[in-house]
Symmetry: D2
């Protein structure tokens, strides 16, 4: 899985930008007990090796590495003089409030920053003519927000004129912008950084990658993903009950996954009740004796029911483009779930046989719940490491996660890269094992 993401990656692309020399002693140092001899702060020299699977017969390139996240001895900004802004962009994802909360708590309590602005409604709230001015965030205002789904700041899609964003931030006096969002958000953040640099304004831009599809390159797992899988698993239980409850019952569940079928794959494995899992990475042939429909029919004929998971990005090649784009610039997809439902029903109709397709489209239910225990902890790590990175003067980078370590990843490193599930990966192999579906769809 890693090879594709890191193909042609060069170590110089992994060097993180700094706003300048760190001159202030970090307040984190102060609460180190006198006898913690082995304790040391993280240094810019600490790095996490990218490729760690080795084989004496097949030499591995072990030279690539990420900068390690963590509190530094010295910081660039003096907390009490510092102003920061936090913005959440794009669709909801479990854990947004947790990240915001931890940013506030660490900036406030650890670094003494008490001017923390919450931008309302994404980048749209970061222009001077927005009807929704920023709100001041304090430990009190964020105390309970992580118990709820959604984003206390609200969100929106699309970017604004980066010049206007920078103007707005300048006017507020913001020194660091924390941007929580996906691919497009991080691209937008880069533009803002560029615009700021042009104007000679020193604003640190720190990203926290948000993608419920888990498809950000150079990142093992994004926040909210585990919660999404857990929720999807509950829905698959329902689909199974519905499928078994009627003659020739088919529980058809569309799950998130535009380019990458990670949620579909993981939920399939968590459930154990799924018979077919269709993802964008593995093209599906519908017709013909070795196609999906014939296989589905065979399964239903022998076992009376089936559960089918389809990622939203599947069948896009077959259905053709809509030609539309959302405000984030992402192409609007045709609905893979409805398409498949229709095709299954037509197939049975042509055969003159009864079928009962129960269709589930639970995306909003999955992404708008509060983070589970795992993601609560993960988000708080992301928030804390982002705060450390921002205060130490890092910029144009996001907080990543690799082999169990938190890392600094330059925005530029992921440009042009994709993270998808390889059909030869052990994850997909285990899906095939779980479902018993064919390795390949033929005609």
């Amino acid at each position: 899985m890693l090879e594709a993401q890191t193909k042609d990656l060069k170590q110089e692309q992994l060097i993180v930008k700094n706003l300048g020399q760190c001159e202030y002693e970090s307040p984190v140092l102060h609460d180190r007990p006198h006898d913690w001899e082995d304790y040391r702060m993280t240094s810019d020299d600490d790095r996490i090796q990218i490729h760690i699977q080795i084989n004496p017969k097949k030499p591995t390139d072990t030279s690539l590495s990420f900068e390690k996240a963590g509190a530094r001895d010295k910081v660039f900004f003096n907390g009490p003089d510092t102003k920061v802004a936090i913005v959440t962009c794009g669709g909801l994802c479990p854990g947004l409030n947790n990240v915001v909360r931890q940013l506030v708590l660490t900036l406030y309590h650890t670094y003494g920053v008490d001017k923390i602005y919450g931008i309302r409604y994404g980048y749209a709230g970061m222009v001077s003519d927005s009807p929704h001015p920023p709100i001041l965030l304090t430990p009190d205002t964020v105390e309970e927000i992580h118990k709820h789904g959604g984003s206390i700041l609200a969100s929106s899609r699309g970017k604004q004129n980066p010049e206007k964003n920078v103007e707005f931030l300048e006017k507020l006096g913001v020194n660091i912008l924390f941007a929580i969002g996906g691919d497009g958000t991080l691209r937008g953040a880069t533009d803002i950084a560029d615009a700021a640099q042009k104007r000679g304004t020193k604003i640190g831009i720190i990203g926290i990658p948000k993608t419920i599809d888990n498809d950000i390159p150079l990142v093992f797992k994004s926040f909210g993903f585990e919660t999404a899988v857990e929720q999807a698993d509950l829905v698959l239980n329902c689909a199974h009950a519905e499928a078994r409850g009627v003659p020739n019952g088919i529980g058809l569940v569309k799950l998130m996954g535009r380019h990458a079928g990670f949620i579909a794959a993981m939920a399939t494995r968590a459930s154990g009740d799924v018979n077919f899992c269709l993802v964008p990475e593995v093209p599906v042939v519908l017709d013909g004796p070795k196609g999906f429909l014939a296989n589905l029919h065979e399964r239903v004929s022998t076992r009376n029911h089936a559960v089918v998971v389809v990622a939203e990005g599947a069948f896009q090649d077959v259905m053709g483009a809509t030609g539309m784009h959302d405000k984030s610039g992402n192409p609007v997809f045709n609905d893979a779930g409805l398409f498949l439902k229709e095709r299954i029903q037509q197939f049975y109709k042509d055969k003159g046989e009864e079928v009962n397709v129960k269709y589930f489209d639970p995306s909003y239910i999955i992404r708008s719940v509060a983070a589970n225990g795992h993601d609560a902890v993960f988000c708080s790590d992301l928030g804390r490491y982002a705060a450390h990175a921002g205060m130490s003067g890092k910029t144009c980078m996001f907080v990543g996660y690799w082999h169990g370590f938190f890392t600094h990843v330059p925005f530029n490193a992921i440009r042009g890269r994709k993270r998808v599930m390889r059909p030869t990966s052990s994850l997909w192999r285990s899906v095939l094992n779980t479902t018993g579906q064919p390795v390949e769809w033929g005609r």
Copy 2:
């Protein structure tokens, strides 16, 4: 609420049919401890008064009453010689497995019935040419089924030729048929009873009313309803998070309720986050300054978001009939949720304003979960009382629930009656209070 259901109801319609004289002493008597002086079995003379709200200035008819459910001193069937069949019909509902389980446990342990057949796939499984023969149910096979949603027997819609059903039951030697299903199922059960009578076969037919919409007349609450409300409440939480997460966000949730908006109303009240609740009983005017769309727009303009609940049976007058019927004979409805989504989007488009409608259609998720604690207990009562009724030779009746008591209700008593939510009821008044929506929609 009660007046409408009981209008022109006559006491003679409430007399329950018996297969004949009860001659066997009930085994329930045996485990009565010697000193339970005040304990007595339920008698056919025990009745539950229907109208209990009295007013000295407005005389109430207190003469109507239901036969009380419960174990009788004497029973018609001798357990070890008795064979019974259980069938589940229509759509899934939380608690189906609980009812089946309790029927089996009471029949087996209390009455010694060990030939309990589970009919597969509804009435379709009760004909000799069904590909799915009945399964034998024992305490062991049902031990854990109540922990899961769905129906272990599976279900189907539609009825069969009643003659063929009776033939099938005769061949199996069935003495009592327990039919768990809705309106149509109970009508089907009546036909089967009639056919049996014509053939001179003594088969007791006992219904357990199943309607997730809670719309069976002469019954206060049907099983699965509380679980459905609890599940719907979780979805409304999600809708609220989604609505608040975007500019001009509208969380639009379609809930069950073809003729009666009980789930929509109760979930609205449980949530506390709903701003508009639209049900079949209260016609909605969409357009005009006092219409729904203008009210919605006003709410979103001032508070940036709104949550809207629409019962599936709303707008049927506006949308017109599809002309189609499902296998149960119910008219297929146009999709009220998609209709409303479309109309809202068009309204904003015409205004040239942004809107973000997040649409939820959670019906299958709501109805396929396992029963919650309340419904688990309720279903076990229904199952036990149905077993008592069946063994004591009652027929053509279902187990009802009225003012906190379980009752025997003849199938005929509900013929031609409807149970809907009156707009003047305290339930609907409390919905209006919770949402703050107008009492009437004008133009």
Copy 3:
């Protein structure tokens, strides 16, 4: 079940006190649409009949009735001039926040009351020297509180000098006190009412009965009870898993129920996995061949495991009194769960056999969660009806629930009464059926 509660009850005890003549037209009238012909407000003449089970051969006293709850045509207090206080007393119970929230919403939105004081920490916060002054409650402050367990007002046990309470209320200018609490709280409320009357102060006192044990007389079900049963059911699942997971495993679960075993009984029925349910109402014999321990041993010998539920009030006769009382004046009980655990272990030790008792004491987990959907609706009814009662000048009464209707019950009516589960009730019979335990414990 009803007989015991209503024994020697006289109709005059059910007459509700009024502070005086109602002179203001109720604002509830205003939002009645012109064509709701059949709509009328509730009148003091509307009453709910208490005994509704009738039998021509055994005449029933149908003369007893409760005053029906609901909004009146005329009210005693003019909303904008009115000040109210809300207090929560005793232990936590799911739904406290829901009741508080609905009180605030109805008083504020329907009646225009905008001076709503939340008393902190129970009656202890209703004296002038309390360190915790009341907080002002508005629709904004209560908007989200029902999503959380506990009480936003906090609570305490015990009463204060009623004179001092009245002084405090007078100083605040409070016209109506809403007291949410149990038996002791309602007694305390009576004392406050008496003290107020002596001083010639017109303060309406409205109770909302809170008892997770469901043991308030003349009330069918108290709020939080269904949620408690649902939570207890989850714990019983765990006890079952633990019991089955070890040799001779016994899952022993102590549940709430000081004098009444309703939670134990209902959770036992919801679960279906419980083999023995021990409640205060049915004395248990431990030793001897027909005693509990021998029965337990027999069960474990044949099935390798058992699940036992014990209500906290069981075995009090055997264990003897602690002689202590809590601040509410309730006797402190010996721990029935630990007692039983000890006795079981000793029994097996004496036999020289292995046993693995897994002991669960989940009370705090059960009572501190948020209300489920059912209780959310139920609590909002209680809050709304309490607001109506208070505004219409009722006093020294609480909002009850009987046969599906909300009622007004004078504090005095429950004095000296108890609500327990009769061993001959159908509820307990069904527990015996579910567990298969003996009807009587012998020696």
Copy 4:
């Protein structure tokens, strides 16, 4: 965190034993589609590097590595001729059934093994005089078991005479034993392997490490841990509600963690409501102005309430040894939760101040639930990789997890090692950050 676990670890300790030369082609090869050019099976040469944090200024030993788990080209056993046994030992843990299920599915479907014996009640069921004979496991018998907590095989503590275990396995004709259990279980497995070798019997012994405390060395995370954290988080919510609900309320929660406070730490972080987290790794001073009690008092005085988490292994130094051991040979601990409760109450009593300690001991509730989505997937990986390892003739090893990869770890490699949470780790630092508790307890 890693240094301590890997101190003095030598690469030769990481070499996995094999039963012999693999001669059969793996059936896994068969379902490889023709054009999966980049697909290859895992080889014994594939290894996962242990230390991956590098620093040019502080050379890291990158030479240590684990053998990578995965299907091999060739296997030692021919499926249809192979018999295997599965045993679960020690306390319950979420996911046991998932591991068992996946073992059965992979062995049966992938390798064609159809003699899969489930040993009942741990090693106690693996002797010929056990009253509980093994059960045959098939895909049908395990189909739904992962939806339930506990272990379908049941478990027990303690080991048996290894000779007798081997005799038993020989009689059954078992070729591979899969042992799911903790430290003691793996030691027991080593003894069985030794005994088998002495007798010249070729039985592969494959472990799957089970420890809800997450304290197995050389393993990043053990199964069930995430579920445990999620459950503990729910309990902490309740503790928070209880603490806030009374004057001077303290919610005191004892969580698992005998030597390692991982659950306490992670649950504390997930919750965000905890003020003090006490773990075995950080000695607590109770008394004195800088001690825990004074800090707790200060917190309660200013904020009226506090939430305290204590791991069961805390205070063992203070409380002294019980001198007892359980059947697994683990010392029985004094109860840290009750000890602390007592000390807190005494402290307040001495001060003459009111305190309300609400004590929670939720261990059984936490460990007996079904695995959440994350653990469901994790367990299925463990089961599948264990099956591959077993079939390819590996022995005396368990399936580990390191930096995101599944590994083979020889039993011997963990002998004498401990996995605890270092007080200087970023995990513990983040706990300190979350709670705000002092870094050190003084006097």
